[in-house]
Symmetry: D2
Subunit: 155 residues, 4 copies
Amino acid sequence: MNDANGLLSGRMIDGGHELVARVYYADTDFSGAVYHARYLEFLERGRSDYLRLLGVHHTDLQAGQTGETLYWVVRRMEIDFRAAARIDDILTIRTQVAETGKARIRMAQEIRRGDDLLVTARVEAAVINAEGRPRRFPQEWAVLFETPGKPHEMS
Amino acid sequence: MNDANGLLSGRMIDGGHELVARVYYADTDFSGAVYHARYLEFLERGRSDYLRLLGVHHTDLQAGQTGETLYWVVRRMEIDFRAAARIDDILTIRTQVAETGKARIRMAQEIRRGDDLLVTARVEAAVINAEGRPRRFPQEWAVLFETPGKPHEMS
Amino acid sequence: MNDANGLLSGRMIDGGHELVARVYYADTDFSGAVYHARYLEFLERGRSDYLRLLGVHHTDLQAGQTGETLYWVVRRMEIDFRAAARIDDILTIRTQVAETGKARIRMAQEIRRGDDLLVTARVEAAVINAEGRPRRFPQEWAVLFETPGKPHEMS
Amino acid sequence: MNDANGLLSGRMIDGGHELVARVYYADTDFSGAVYHARYLEFLERGRSDYLRLLGVHHTDLQAGQTGETLYWVVRRMEIDFRAAARIDDILTIRTQVAETGKARIRMAQEIRRGDDLLVTARVEAAVINAEGRPRRFPQEWAVLFETPGKPHEMS
């Protein structure tokens, strides 16, 4: 798979990650615009592909590569729906790490269509094990989410 | 939960099961009608609730109640989209067993809005274990899907 | 349709609305729990059915009953995912009006499984016309969202 | 947008179209595999992007470019779920025109992961106007779906 343009998994940009995705029938609702909960799926793709380019794969986590089965979960989300995306639109999803802690990470995300800002979100994510218990991040991740010039720490 | 009217899990009817469900924003697309793949979710609810009323619960199967972890999967579907459902519509999902075998079951399903027939489907379902391998139906199910007057057998 | 138990469209409770709904395959993800964006669909059902019992129907709004075509849209959402729902779970969605303005309404919502609080959300909603322009609420709604003892006003 | 590798809208191949897409959390269910109805969304993306590369855009159809507002709808689908896709999988969706008529088109589609054939589908699609009435295909499409060596005609 030649993904030189980053169209499949997106690409790293200054301070974060950028993914391009298309709006299809499945994303829209009868108002003519994208259904509000479907923007969360675009945001999930952005976060998953950002992690993927950092070397963190859902399959590896499930397989217990870091010690036990782990799953990423969203703990909290603040999301502003500023303008509507429509069928056939090409969206750009930008993801940045805002803060990292020992067991939580906060990401700032936005969805644009060209220069138009459609959605902004603050997402707090964590990992749980197979029994659903919260877990600290694996130690090997410590360096992954360091954001140069933004040395934030969450408790 | 008083489900006397069968509104939560539906109810057994002559030769099958009937469930009532509402169309919400999430089910529709920008054409104004229900998105075609969302009808499959209504059909899944019908099958799941039919099984539930027969005493077959997804949670029990996952927990290995019948010997090992089992999941229902859809193997094949023929579906005719005859007329469109729209926002706020109240749909009736009817599910009947058409044929049962040792490891497969065929169900005939339809979705109506009042007297209007919107969708008909033939669904072939089976069970797999946690590794994804096909499994025979648990023996205790042998009597569940017997349809009086329709003693079909699948190979 | 005998909906005496409120299982189809929910029921008005002190200061709000309550709807019961089931978790199906379609709502879950490979972690074993409900996919985070699907909780937003349960919340949408709660809000839509609350409006329905107040006499506000999406079909009427689309048909221009209040003057021109109107659609409800979500403007902002803060959502806390506290605990996970799983397959077969029966969820209760509670919806309350927190604040109303001339063109915006804020609702407080929660999803419970029995006594367990799974999700809490603050949702800001508004109406737009067919061109996507924000509109004031129709005058006849002025009395609908008055919450006795909570005479909040949004600008 | 440099889509030289066809990763955003796919690419024309001998006798059809090919699109590559990723499996995310949103596509999976608690069994660990992709939820059966979500394969229909991957198939829709394949058909939509095939049409797009032929010059047929949903936005143009909705805007009445060919005379009146038109929407594509799926009329019938036969789908075989042969093997399961899982989180992080990269899927290839292939779409071919099998038969065209004056108001209906039949497409043959398949979803593969590498060499593994996961899903095959026969999809019958048509166009309707804003009132939901079936319409003949616009004349300018007559040449679009001609498949060299496969001069099928539907009544």
